[in-house]
């Protein structure tokens, strides 16, 4: 049975906080529709999810290649800016929340109780400006504004078609990793359904600063693609402080790569398969002064990786996205032990290892109605600490919902969303260590201009 310390609770809450605030709502970009006169449905299966035409447009550096891409062809009043926000009513429920036995009395001991809350809510506001600075130079800036705090979620510039070749594009800045099944363009919005858990998973007790492949990172990316985007590759070198700006935490770099190939299957549609890998190092401790860590002095780097494969499948009006991940963090990261204190490792400590994946299916009834169903799971195959129950941290989640777009034109977009989802976290109840389940129901408007 896991010994619960404040550290462990704190880490879990921190992880949850990062999860909820670090996950930005995804976007469709009406600024592109306004610039080119195309409707949202030309680039998006159902915004924000991209279809192949939209993915090609993105990979080309937001260029259609028809000679009118450079900003000089736009009217001076055109500004490549969009905003997006969701307004909703939602209901959240969790079956094992730690509460004081007597409300207001911190020393009355704690019990686990089910908690349900509901009400009207707003998502964080997405403001995005993106497009071309000139022919073959593209950019993307996304400030992140949520409840009064702000930061930069993404900011990058990209040199497209280096040497006239679409196989060489260089991006630099803070950016989302090259993923075709993208966290930034996820179709579901609720607390349980609004992220791919595999993209942000850290095992219980692990203090790896790396949040997951769903977080935006600082670095450079070299990428390329074939003319119709059927073949794509990318290689990125990233700083290993999880995209935080300011002093780098340590002097190591992470590498991420993604290779994929699409092909046509007669009578069915386009299919795509790909493999990816994230290989990095994270610090396990800092230099200190008076016992306090000095920012920028992360050291004791230890390695971790996330590798796997994915597929995008089209079968008539259905499409499926399948994803598999195999992840491992170093034993020191997994047990939150500084690398210069090997004696602090628990007996039998090991590198935490897990496998996970999801299947997300859609029924594209028409460009204005999409039905969604998703199932995700994560299974620990090796816990970091032998004292932890073998299934602690395992996760099962599913979401069903639909998005209906009453208007879809080259100026703005509006979607009516309804979704319901459940998450089961094995061994994650704060007091008893039992399984913790949460559910979300959300309905509301998702709109952008």
């Amino acid at each position: 049975m896991e010994a619960l310390t404040l550290t462990r609770i704190g880490i879990r809450l921190l992880a949850l906080g990062i999860l909820l605030t670090g996950v930005q709502p995804a976007f469709g970009i009406p600024a592109f529709a306004r610039k080119n006169g195309l409707p949202c449905s030309a680039c998006h299966e159902a915004w924000p999810m991209l279809n192949n035409f939209g993915q090609t447009f993105k990979d080309n550096g937001y260029q259609l290649g028809n000679g009118h891409d450079a900003p000089i062809y736009q009217e001076p009043a055109y500004w490549p800016i969009m905003f997006r926000i969701n307004t909703s009513w939602h209901r959240e429920s969790n079956n094992r929340r730690a509460e004081d036995t007597i409300p207001g009395n911190a020393s009355s001991g704690q019990v686990e109780r089910a908690v349900t809350t509901s009400g009207f809510d707003l998502s964080s506001l997405d403001i995005v400006t993106a497009g071309t600075l000139s022919k073959n130079i593209s950019f993307f800036v996304q400030p992140f504004i949520n409840s009064g705090s702000s930061s930069v979620a993404q900011a990058w510039a990209r040199l497209d078609d280096l040497g006239g070749s679409r196989w060489l594009n260089l991006k630099m800045g803070k950016f989302e990793l090259d993923e075709l099944i993208s966290q930034e363009r996820i179709l579901t919005l609720s607390d349980t359904g609004g992220s791919y858990f595999n993209y942000f998973f850290t095992p219980l007790g692990d203090n790896n600063v790396f949040e997951g492949i769903g977080a935006t990172q600082l670095g450079v990316e070299l990428s390329g693609h074939s003319e119709n985007d059927y073949r794509r590759y990318s290689v990125s070198v990233l700083g290993s402080n999880n995209g935080q700006t300011g002093l780098p935490s340590n002097s190591s770099y992470d590498v991420y790569t993604n290779l994929n190939q699409a092909f046509e299957v007669p009578h069915l549609g386009m299919q795509r398969v790909g493999v990816y890998g994230y290989f990095g190092q994270s610090p396990t401790y800092f230099q200190t002064s008076g016992g306090r860590p000095i920012p920028g002095t992360g050291t004791g780097n230890r390695s971790f990786y996330r590798v796997g494969a994915y597929g995008q499948w089209y079968v008539g009006k259905f499409d499926f996205q399948t994803f598999y991940m195999h992840g491992q963090d170093n034993v020191f990261l997994g047990n939150s032990v500084p690398a210069n204190q090997p004696a602090s490792l628990p007996l039998g400590a090991a590198a935490p290892t897990w496998n996970g994946g999801f299947v997300e299916s859609h029924y594209d009834y028409n460009p204005r109605l999409i039905l969604i169903g998703k199932y995700e799971l994560i299974r620990m195959s090796q816990q970091a600490n032998p004292g932890i129950r073998s299934n602690a941290g395992n996760l099962d989640a599913w979401t069903v919902g639909y998005r209906w777009y009453p208007i879809m034109n080259p100026r703005a977009g509006l979607a009516w969303v309804q979704e319901y989802g459940r998450v089961l976290n094995a061994g994650a109840a704060p007091l008893s260590g039992k399984d913790d389940s949460s559910s979300s129901f959300l309905m509301g408007f998702d709109f952008d201009f």
Partner: protein, 260 residues
């Protein structure tokens, strides 16, 4: 009298056939066949906002586009391999959708599956009854290109002068000829002649063979006429070589053609 009864009789028969038999438009490109019903779903996803619900080029975005989107109800197309005044072949429409139209709002739709593009063509043909009433003309023959040379370019310059190409394209090929400011397309919108010095892509293909073909077919719906009988084959190749020589990229650089 007999003629009149035969006429009414056949008219009645035709009416019966026309009303009783519902016509599904099809298209054929290579070994793919397109179906208008699938094409319609694709049109409503990708095309409708520029080309309009009725295919008349009056979609919601159209007022803000220059040049205007094609009006399919007229069945007049710039990029063909058939003579001036003729309908295009299915493969001509396929090539235009795949290549896009440079310097316009029409993107290259290569990221769409080949089958999807062929389906779209089947639906586009339903916007004009011309596709049911007439057949496209025979595609033009393009003989092998002789190599370019200084003499060929010189001869081409003389043909350019004699054929009055300069009245629109200008003596230097920059597109500022004396008639250029008066030019309108067949919808009445102002249109500018191509600037051969820019070295940019042509609307109907990038290779010398495409230029040769454009000289024969003309670009219907625009002031660019057909020179089918006005020039000999050799003269046409000479003009192609001359026009290439005007490009700022230097003599005879061809842009890499977009693969299908």
């Amino acid at each position: 009298m007999r003629r009149k009864t035969t006429l009414t009789g056949s008219a009645a028969l035709m009416l019966f056939l026309f009303c009783g038999y519902s016509w599904a438009q099809e298209s054929h490109v290579g070994n793919l066949s397109g179906n208008e019903k699938r094409g319609r779903a694709l049109y409503e996803r990708y095309c409708i906002f520029c080309h309009g619900q009725y295919g008349d080029g009056r979609g919601e975005s159209a007022p803000y586009l220059d040049p205007k989107p094609r009006d399919f109800t007229k069945a007049v197309f710039k990029c063909r391999s058939t003579p001036s005044g003729s309908l295009p072949l299915d493969s001509d429409l396929y090539d235009t959708i795949s290549r896009g139209v440079h310097d316009s709002g029409m993107p290259s739709w290569k990221p769409l599956l080949r089958q999807e593009r062929v389906d779209l063509i089947a639906y586009i043909k339903t916007f004009s009854s011309a596709f049911q009433e007439e057949k496209p003309g025979a595609p033009v023959e393009i003989p092998p290109e002789p190599p370019s040379s200084a003499e060929s370019i010189q001869r081409g310059a003389q043909v350019f002068e004699k054929m009055n190409c300069w009245s629109c394209h200008g003596k230097d090929g920059r597109g500022h000829g004396p008639s250029a400011s008066t030019l309108t397309d067949s919808k009445g919108y102002p249109i500018t002649p191509f600037d051969f010095t820019s070295g940019s892509r042509f609307k109907c293909g990038e290779t010398d063979r495409d230029m040769f073909r454009d000289l024969i077919t003309g670009l219907d719906g625009t002031p660019m006429p057909s020179f089918a009988s006005a020039m000999t084959t050799d003269q046409k190749w000479d003009v192609v070589h001359y026009l290439r020589s005007l490009s700022i990229h230097g003599t005879h650089k061809q842009l890499a053609p977009i693969s299908q």
